[in-house]
Structure formats: structure tokens, C-alpha cells
Symmetry: C2
Subunit: 207 residues, 2 copies
Amino acid sequence: MKRIAESTVRRLSIYLRFLEEFEGNGLATISSDELARRGGTTSAQVRKDLSFFGSFGKRGLGYSVAELRTAIREILGLQREWRVIIVGAGKIGAALAQYRGFRQRGFQIIATYDTNPEKIGRTLDGIEVRDMARLEADIGRDKPDIAVIAVPSEGAQETLDRLVRAGITAVLSFAAAQLHAPPEVTVKTVNMAMELEGLTFALTNKD
Amino acid sequence: MKRIAESTVRRLSIYLRFLEEFEGNGLATISSDELARRGGTTSAQVRKDLSFFGSFGKRGLGYSVAELRTAIREILGLQREWRVIIVGAGKIGAALAQYRGFRQRGFQIIATYDTNPEKIGRTLDGIEVRDMARLEADIGRDKPDIAVIAVPSEGAQETLDRLVRAGITAVLSFAAAQLHAPPEVTVKTVNMAMELEGLTFALTNKD
DNA sequence: GCTAGCTTGTGAAGGAATTCACAAGCCCGC
DNA sequence: GCGGGCTTGTGAATTCCTTCACAAGCTAGC
């Protein structure tokens, strides 16, 4: 398949959210224009995004909400369950483990991992906190699809290396660190400090 | 000033992190090439990013770590303190309130806000949980620079509207919703579901 | 003070993403 | 079953961002 821009994938995610909302409201069809207005983009952008994957609409009418929803879910790979582990059971890791949005969207959290003996063996909202020492062995057995890194920045790269060696190929990191991984491993980083600095830049340089 | 790409600002944030690290190590100068290697980009990109703001290096030698660090802090507006409120004292809000990275980087968290009577009046790591009803009055008095939205997605837009009416012009949202605000208000959204879907897309469409 | 060896800063080129603009096609009403 | 009114799908144009490539300029060594 032709390479798809990351921005396109992000927008598909947004469209999907609206389609689910519309479906809840019983709406049958929707135009690229309406989808664009809600998603903060343009109708041409919506149509272009979809055009990379096929032709889902009916001219003169728009898109069937149910069909487009299914199509986007398929494109994003959301028609199946994904198995997730969370490495680090600190504040962020714990908040993530308890975050309901994950389960609602087909992400099954298998376990969290930590080195703190006081935490190991406990459960967070039904999710076991396991000994970090078992990480590799467990990955071999449980075969998670995705790992979330929620350890302090200093340890993030080492954690990533261990995950990669154990066979993980998709990682979401919350560490405020630039991580390096082989090209076959997809790493996404959510960096709050960076976002905040985007805001202070905007506040400082608005004129 | 000429419009600066968001990607440039994000990279400046990354460079700054490395410069601080290098400074800790006592390094005096650094080349664009080294900065690029650490930051996962190219030396031309580093130089281009900096060139929008001035000329900070010495040909043949590179950049003074201390000077460049100061310059980037100034560009990003980090030479001053910023006053932050967190709206929503649930899991995410609480984790953010206790997140040390904020304070370390000059973000002073004034208060959090919630509607839950059981939470109101308590403190999270020294930060007061206040009644959401007081939001507008408090903003008028405390004049926070930045608001963080950590309420459930359903209430996010209404929260944003209230913040905007009260005079807030910079918002970081953790709600999984597309938010709309007037153009003079800068809104950044951290959407974990979107990031995860970027991963499942990559996992599904790798071939 | 001169030369060799680097590294910056920056126009120009190239590439990627977005927007434009319109032909193609569908539906509804008559 | 035909015409008017919409809306899609998509090449072309445009805008935005990144990479290239090299002149300019600094340092260190002799």
C-alpha cells in the first residue's frame, strides 16, 4: 500500500469518533462537509483521506454512517482486540490502567509491571501489578501486541530496549525522552512537557 | 514574526531537553550534527529550526550549550513562571497535579477543580481541589495563564467554553474529543486513543 | 599570519500534504 | 424517465516543510 501520512491516520481516528456518536443518534448518512465541520478540517481533506483506502460514499448523498464506521474501524485495525501491557505502575501507569477508554475501544490490558516490591502482587482496578523481572518471560508467554511505557524518563530507553528484544513491535511512551528503536518497531510518544511548551511558545509569541 | 511551524517548536523542545542534559555533564559546545543524532533528525533541520530565530552558533565550532539553552528557553517562553489550573480531579487530573515534571519546568499549579463534593476541599500533593462552581470567579482573581482539561470527554467542550469566557487563552486537553475554540485561543489536545489507533494502524498495515 | 579542517547559516531544490475546482454520478420529485 | 440539485472522488495547483549543497567564517596549529 502507498504510504499513508500520519496526519491522515489521526484524522481517521477523529472521524471514527464522530461516526460512533452519530450512529448513537440514529443518523443514517453524513456528508464530508458535516464530518469536516465537526472534525475541524475541510470537506476536501475528508474525501482525500478516505480516497487513499477506497470509495465509501455515494455522490449526491454522502456516506452511510454505519458503513463508513465499519470501514474506518477496519482500516485502523480496530475490528479485533489488542493485548496491551503497561510498564510502570506509578501515577501515570496507574491512571492508564484504570482508564476506561482503553477497554471500551478493544484494548485489553493484561498486566502492569513495576520494580517496587510494595506494588508487586497488588491489583489496580483488577489488573495485576507484576514484577518487572518477569517482563521478558511474560511477553514470551502472553504475546501482548502493544506496550505502554510509563516509567520515569531516565529508565525509558532501557525499558524500550528490553521490550524490543522481547519481541514487542508497537510502543506508546509517556516518558519525556526521545526514544530510539529499530525501524520495524513503531514508537509513539506522548510528551506533556512538549505540549505545554507549545502553549507557552504560543502565549509568548502571539502578537 | 514569520509563522513558525508547530513541528519546529516541538523540536526546539527536544533540543532543549538535550542541552540541559549536556549542561549537567559539563559539556561546553555541541554541533548541530550531534544534536540531530540525539533528537532523531538531521543537522540541516536543526540549523534551519534555529535560523528562524537568529544565529546562535559559531562556524567551525558549533553551539555553546549554555547560550543555546538560554536562547531556546527564551524562545519557548520558559524564562518565566506560568500559572496553571487543572480542571477535573479524577484519575488523570490527580496524576497531573502530582506530576513533578511540571513544577521542575516552571509550571506552577495553582489549583484543581472538580464537581464531586467528596473531593472538594481536599488537597492532592499540596494542591487544593476547589469547587468547579468557583471556576470563573477564581480565574478572574488568580489569572492563570494555562488551563488543563482533565474532565470526561462529554463535558470537555462545555468546560472549554467556560474557560474561554473567563479569559483563558491557552488550554491543554486530555479529553478524547475534538474541541472548538475561537482562533485567539490556543488549544492542544493529547489524545491517547488516537495514539493507540496510530499503533494499531501500523500493526495492521505493515507488510 | 596563513592554511587546513570544521561547522554554521541559508538560498534553492525537492518532496509531502493540503486545498482547489470540476467532472462524474446519484437521488428525488414531478 | 428526465432534470435539478447535491455530493463524491480526484487530478492539478498550491502551500508548507524538509533536505541539499555550498559559501562564509571560525579555530587551532604551525
